[in-house]
């Protein structure tokens, strides 16, 4: 003999106000939780894409970001000696120059600006950064043209195909946007790419900023990093994963803050649910006694209250998720964030993926169980005879 789900479900409607208020507490917590989780997941996904263990970034000794590094061509040429680098006739090494440009954000109508990375690349870049895919035209090597990462095009003004932005040391050269590219959702999608020699001349530079190397399958990245460190080459090398880890040290700080906030609010929700459930148990003493009299075991009564609490929480959770989705739809879901030391922006979009919703609902179910444990066992301890005798 078991209690049906509809019995629990109907119980929730008996005390409308209390149920509604508790549901709203949970909805507020879950709404915030899903937003923060979406934020954290969007950030770490974006950075995880960049963490290609087969890619090594080489910079000048002493620099910690591509923006601030200067790599003379003679140093670059030394990288050709490394035998672990993959090759398609030419070693897959991409010389790159990194500068930045301030552009107005789309989301607030251009009241604030962000530093967007501009990367000068050659044909080699498309072989080294394998997840970069052209969506449309490529820049020509003869004209001042650029291609724009998918996310950058969405987030910053002036980056639609056909529009121009001004680049160069004095900002006098107009570069026309001719195409978009994707980078599997990684941070490069927040960048602008142009032809290296053209950008070098616009900025009056003869040096590169950094070089990216694609290693052959099975090559030992650590050994390559060590080889570049010296004595023959003497440059700074790190795997792409390491590079982005350094760039995102501030990101991890925010993630930690988010988790602490979420933890505290979830705990508050547990107490709130417990409060409600205690009140429910107290208000239904005679009903519980009746259930016990007609043959339900203490265990079934306990389970019944846990189920009720979880139902209550799940309803709150569903409303919270829906609220968060509505918020993102109305207020916009794009955010961007600084790298720790290159001062350029990584743009990302918050999406409520099924995984995030599942995580939020799991959290809320746990809240429901935790909040009901004590009240449910109090209900299970109710002595049938004594309770029925109560006024």
């Amino acid at each position: 003999m078991t209690l049906t789900l509809s019995y629990h479900w109907r119980n929730l409607f008996v005390r409308k106000t209390t149920t509604a208020l508790t549901v709203l507490v949970i909805a507020a917590v879950v709404g915030t939780f899903t937003w923060l989780l979406g934020f954290v997941v969007a950030l770490s996904d974006s950075l995880a894409v960049a963490a290609d263990p087969r890619k090594v970034i080489v910079m000048q000794r002493g620099s910690i970001s591509e923006t601030n590094s200067a790599l003379p061509p003679e140093d670059f040429n030394k990288l050709m000696q490394i035998s672990e680098v993959a090759s398609d006739g030419q070693p897959l090494i991409s010389p790159e120059m990194m500068v930045q440009v301030s552009l107005a954000r789309v989301r607030d109508g251009g009241t604030t600006q962000a530093n967007v990375a501009v990367r000068g690349v050659t044909e080699a870049a498309f072989k080294v950064h394998r997840n970069v895919k052209l969506l449309g035209a490529a820049f020509s090597t003869g004209a001042p043209e650029i291609i724009v990462g998918r996310k950058a095009a969405q987030q910053f003004q002036g980056l639609q195909i056909g529009q121009s932005i001004r680049l160069g040391f004095s900002g006098t050269r107009e570069y026309k946007v001719v195409g978009y590219f994707s980078a599997a959702g990684g941070p490069m999608e927040s960048e602008i790419w142009g032809y290296l020699p053209s950008l070098q001349s616009a900025y009056g530079r003869t040096v590169y900023s950094a070089a990216s190397l694609r290693l052959a399958d099975g090559a030992d990245a650590a050994a390559v990093v060590k080889q570049i460190d010296g004595p023959a080459i003497q440059l700074e090398a790190m795997t792409e994963s390491e590079y982005w880890q350094n760039q995102s040290s501030n990101v991890r700080f925010y993630q930690a803050v988010c988790y602490v906030l979420v933890g505290m609010m979830s705990l508050a929700a547990v107490f709130s649910v417990a409060n409600t459930m205690f009140s429910t148990v107290a208000g239904r003493t005679r009903e519980i006694a009746m259930l016990r009299t007609i043959g339900f075991s203490p265990g079934q009564v306990r389970l019944g209250f846990v189920i009720e609490s979880v139902l209550l929480s799940l309803v709150g959770g569903a409303i919270g998720c829906a609220g968060c989705a509505a918020y993102l739809a109305i207020m916009g879901n794009t955010k961007d964030m600084f790298g720790a030391s290159n001062f350029t922006t990584i743009a990302f979009e918050i999406h409520l993926t099924p995984l995030i919703i599942a995580g939020a609902m799991l959290m809320v179910a746990i809240v429901g169980v935790l909040g009901s444990l004590a009240p449910a066992s109090r209900a299970a301890r109710i002595q049938a005879i004594a309770a029925l005798r109560e006024p």
Binding site: S63, F271, F338
Partner: protein, 389 residues
């Protein structure tokens, strides 16, 4: 039978509920006080920056594009009589770090002659200015940086620049700055920095930003327009910001944290209001007969109103104390300014933030008790006595 006595009896009647409510109230309040502290800290910082009347002039393209040193003369030439501007101080990013560490210190080379005047909020004394002018290796260093590296006044320290040509220069700390918002800065003499660059064969001296101290708000706005107009269509087009707007380009760039915190504060207020309201409704429903008895033995309506409101307020205040006091204590012992990025670095628990948090708690307590208290006051004695709890 005093109000206080009834209140204590009521709170003691269902200890479990009182405890759960107080905790469910305290946790979001802890989040609230931290969030509101950050917002208050940023508002205060903005207000103090606005008082400084400083204008930042940078390249229109981006902050990392350099502006040649001679532009300082051009800017000063706009107002030769010094009616609108007091002084111009060029700054160049040094980006130093302590050798063998990863964290870049916000270190900047500043024009030595005008730095003390333009950045008067740093608060250099006559003697310190004299030493700054005399010693080429002088450095004015923020309190947080000094504490982080266990430095002290008078120490000789070496910083390694992370930008070409990656100079390692030695400095001497002549002043420790504790002005809010400047505790994470390291200011060095730009002439010393530029000479070391020149010795390495690097290009002409240049700045990232020219800081202009203005005489009044009007002169700040007029200079802002005049300077950008002066360099328009030149090889070095500029974009000027008042200091707040300049700082905002950074705080905005780290994910609009202040906005996030404001949103968080609103959500938290909703949560505590719902928690308190819920509790008061539950406890009112259970005690409806008891309140009717009170009424029957001659309690006036306003006293019943007061009893319910007072209970709600007590719960809210207890929750607020339990949430705010430990958080405020923890944050003042471990201020996040030691390790957090820019906007968080300005977080400090201020009396205003604590006051606001308590104010909100009291307001929530009042609001949550209002409806049940109103119902208690207009309770129909006879029908309430008949009601089965």
């Amino acid at each position: 039978m005093t109000l206080g006595y009834v209140l204590m009896q009521n709170l003691r009647r269902n200890r479990m509920r009182t405890a759960l409510t107080v905790i469910a109230f305290a946790l979001p309040m802890a989040v609230f006080v931290a969030a509101i502290s950050l917002v208050v800290a940023l508002i205060q910082l903005n207000a103090s920056l606005a008082r400084e009347l400083r204008l930042a002039v940078r390249s229109k393209i981006t902050l990392t594009n350099y502006l040649p040193e001679r532009m300082r003369k051009d800017i000063e030439g706009i107002d030769p009589q010094r009616q609108r501007l007091t002084a111009v101080c060029g700054m160049r990013w040094f980006g130093g770090r302590v050798p063998n560490t990863q964290n870049v210190i916000q270190s900047l080379g500043a024009d030595p002659d005008t730095f003390p005047a333009v950045f008067s909020d740093v608060g250099m004394t006559e003697a310190e200015i004299e030493q700054w002018n005399r010693e080429r290796v002088a450095a004015v260093v923020g309190k947080n940086i000094v504490e982080q590296h266990n430095w002290k006044l008078g120490d000789r320290v070496t910083l390694e620049s992370t930008v070409p040509p990656y100079l390692a220069l030695e400095f001497r700390i002549i002043k420790v700055v504790s002005t809010p918002g400047r505790t994470n800065g390291f200011y060095l003499r730009r002439d010393y920095f530029e000479e070391a660059r020149k010795a390495g064969g690097f290009d002409a001296p240049a700045c990232n930003v020219f800081w202009i101290k203005c005489n009044s708000v009007e002169s700040l706005h007029s200079l802002q327009a005049d300077i950008d107009a002066l360099f328009a269509n030149s090889p070095n087009e500029t974009r000027s910001f008042d200091e707040n707007a300049f700082i905002a380009t950074f705080t905005q760039a780290v994910g609009d944290l202040p906005g996030l915190m404001r949103g968080m504060a609103i959500v938290v207020v909703c949560i505590v209001a719902l928690v308190a309201g819920n509790t008061m409704m539950m406890s009112f429903r259970e005690r409806i007969r008891e309140l009717a008895v009170f009424k029957a033995i001659g309690f006036q309506s306003w006293r019943l109103f007061l009893i319910v409101i007072a209970e709600s307020l007590t719960l809210a205040i207890a929750g607020a104390v339990l949430g705010i006091v430990p958080t405020a204590t923890a944050l003042s012992i471990f201020p996040p300014s030691k390790f957090g990025p820019l906007p968080i670095a300005s977080l400090a628990i201020s009396p205003i933030a604590i006051g606001v948090s308590f104010g909100i708690a009291v307001l929530v307590g009042l609001l949550a008790g209002l409806w049940p208290a109103y119902q208690a006051a207009r309770l129909d004695t006879v029908s309430a006595l008949r009601k089965v709890a």
